[in-house]
Symmetry: C2
Subunit: 360 residues, 2 copies
DNA sequence: CTAAAGTTCTGGAGCGCTACAGAAGGAGAC
DNA sequence: GTCTCCTTCTGTAGCGCTCCAGAACTTTAG
């Protein structure tokens, strides 16, 4: 069955194309094409006439698929999300990031396609979806979606993951930021510290390239401060998308006299869950337990007590990622050399009410 | 410049296509196509050989754009979001909905493209992005994105907005659900009630087709109960994406002796903001002010006091929307008659701790 | 009044792929 | 040994559009 002759059972309705309109008006197909896509190439009067006839025939405009093939551009970029795409939706930080991207891309006339990094049957979105470029966001190294994108030689921007040569990347200095958080609690006098993070169990933060780079770097940053201070932290982990579980894993630690007096958390979402668990265990934050988050999402300010956390600007990250990608796509189209940048956005420790000196 | 001859400044690198591989292996282009797309059409040995040569040449697979044109299917569906797409990201309810959609679509081998409903320059995503179908989510009637989608005769599913003939729609009975919430506070004895909602100012909930249908229906449902009870509510509104503002607008009402003793809110997000404003004003929830939300997002259960709210299943809505659309796309491709359904998911009032009888 | 410089429109040649019908060759049935 | 059927492979003919070079005609300059 030909695409144009769909609905055979309903009687083959011949599709209305440029040609249909052209024949009806009595001009060439090219002129109709120009009427829609390059108005300056024909007289206003003729254009008006063409548009009228097109409307009568129910011709909406050039078929996007055909136009894509002919022009070599789709008007769409993809974003490759960690594992199941739905994981991406569970944290205000990611949400704000995505919101900023869509916003910025819209300004460039680009739509955003969410690419699940897995495969469904024989469809691999990263390989099979037409697009002009893509953002790889916080993917584990080795996720094969990234591999496909690379092989396709698409303009790529990496965010919150290991930079790769030849592609622009955007990150914050997670290690230094985490170290600042750790220093804060050490300076307050804490000696028993819990680290609540995401991802896989790894002893040595320097190895384990199979894990999210961001989680690794933050772990490294915490240890950069804790180890020299002679503090051996307890570590609890959970899945990326399930902060409750990570916090729950902390529960058993909260009873004994040797319980941690401070918890450094991978994200605000995780910190929020930790506070809830602590309070349910009868502990007061920050009096009995200091809690530090990461990201400084709106949640951090809403919480009671307001959360001490590491600020980073998710919106700015998203805007930058989108802008860099849009620029890369434009350069790619123009046949220019790619411009590779290593962008690092600033972070700042924001001390609020969830941290205090340890109980006496 | 031909798409194939990009990068003229870098020297025209001839693109590797099916043909390139075919010539190299010494078979027809069709056979190479089959090697990638219909493995059962050729011997395993030849296929292996073709794949090897393709890999050597750096041929990744059939070009998605060309395949789209030839096959008449893109492997992508769109979702048209309210106004700026970023508005969609501000509420856990919408997030859960989107997450479920991507999840379900991934299973059907479809990717999801976020369509800003506006236009950027001369690009109108709803008109210019290649896709096999679309979900229109909570769009104002008359948003021209929907118009383009309709004109393109794409399979469409409408969610949380006015159903249209010829297209499947998914909703809850917002009116009845809101009425149940209103009845709850009236039954508790409240006589001074505030309604905190989103969208435009309208006196008569029956008119104003320019506003979100959902907001209109909930308003109507509240009034269905309040008016017969002789209660004249005060109404406060905010933008869809800014619950804080809506709550803040309530602030001035909270002081006098005639202040409302109950607030019915359009969403949990809004209710949460209202609780914060009330507490900042020195009122206790629910003792001084009862608050009811809508949606029953995870937030409702996390809140202290836990929020009384109307439960609806955002995940189920998303899954259903995706499944219905995928089915509609498949039927469309097969040339079958569309199956139009009017789906209505159940709701349930969940009474938690944020509502109580009014202060004596 | 002629040459040069627009303006407006057209034809042909792709873009890279897949559907379809059919050719070529080999296996199996009788 | 012949006929049929199956497997494997191949040309052709698009899909609907846009690029490019140039034709036809009109205006401007000298």
């Amino acid at each position: 069955m030909q695409p144009g002759t769909l609905t055979p059972t309903l009687g083959t309705v011949p599709r209305v194309t440029l040609k249909t309109v052209a024949d009806r008006v009595g001009v060439s197909a090219m002129t109709v094409s120009n009427a829609f896509s390059r108005p300056d190439q024909l007289s206003a009067a003729l254009r008006e006439r063409i548009l009228t006839v097109a409307a009568e025939l129910g011709y909406v405009g050039p078929d996007p698929a055909a136009r894509t093939l002919a022009r070599g551009a789709t008007g769409t970029v993809g974003i490759l999300l960690t594992e199941s795409p739905q994981h991406a939706f569970y944290d205000e930080y990611t949400i704000a990031f995505l919101a900023a991207i869509t916003q910025e891309l819209a300004g460039a006339g680009l739509a955003l396609t969410l690419l699940p990094s897995g495969r469904a049957g024989d469809v691999v979105p990263a390989r099979d979806v037409a697009m002009d470029g893509a953002i790889a966001y916080s993917c584990r190294p080795g996720v094969d979606g990234v591999d496909w994108l690379r092989k396709r030689r698409l303009p790529l921007v990496f965010v919150d993951q290991q930079p790769e040569r030849g592609h622009t990347s955007i990150n914050v200095d997670d290690r230094a930021a985490a170290a600042a958080a750790a220093r804060h609690v050490v300076d307050l006098g804490h000696r028993r510290v819990a680290l609540v993070t995401v991802g896989r169990e790894v002893t040595d933060p320097d190895t384990a390239p199979s894990d999210y780079m961001v989680a690794r770097q933050r772990m490294r940053g915490w240890l950069d401060v804790l180890e020299p201070a002679g503090i051996e932290p307890v570590v609890r982990r959970s899945d990326y998308d399930n902060p409750e579980a990570g916090a729950a894993a902390l529960r058993d630690l909260l009873d004994g006299p040797d319980r941690p007096t401070a918890a450094l958390c991978f994200s605000d979402a995780l910190a929020s869950a930790v506070v809830r668990v602590a309070e349910d265990a009868g502990l007061r934050v920050p009096h009995d337990l200091s809690v530090v988050g990461f990201d400084d999402t709106p949640l951090a300010r809403r919480m009671r007590p307001a959360l001490t956390t590491v600020h980073q600007d998710a919106g700015e990250k998203g805007r930058l990622a989108a802008a860099e990608l849009a620029a890369a796509v434009a350069r790619h189209r123009a046949g220019e050399e790619p411009v590779v940048r290593r962008l690092e956005l600033p972070t700042e420790l924001v001390v609020r009410e969830s941290t205090a000196p340890p109980p006496a």
